[in-house]
Symmetry: C2
Subunit: 73 residues, 2 copies
């Protein structure tokens, strides 16, 4: 698991990020801006089939590309 | 309201999109890729203070800029 349990906790949500390029499996991407509770930008993807939530690395080029692809569709 | 009620309904979530440039008010952005239930890319922003959810236009340049800004922080 790369994601902490509850979503509303006042701290960062992601513990680790996914390295594999799973862009095609993604149904939804959530971007969390830095806040007083977490200084990092966090990205959580929800997979199409399983609905599983996975943390992505905001600085990874393939992640930026996945987001650009969703925006351009 | 620019957003339908429940999130899990098998149809598009957004009815209308926000025209004002509310980038600085946004805490979180959700990107929904097109799916069998909705052919559109949908973007839902959650506001910092109120937690209110607002639909954004994926093709609006200011919306793309807000997302790029979150990614670059």
């Amino acid at each position: 698991m790369s994601l902490r349990g509850a979503g509303a906790e006042p701290r960062c949500r992601c513990i680790a990020t996914e390295n594999r390029r799973i862009g095609k499996l993604i149904a939804r991407v959530e971007l969390f801006a830095p806040s007083p509770h977490c200084k990092d930008t966090e990205i959580i993807a929800t997979l199409k089939d399983s609905g599983k939530e996975i943390c992505l690395d905001p600085s990874a080029p393939w992640v930026k590309k996945v987001i650009a692809n969703i925006l351009s569709r």
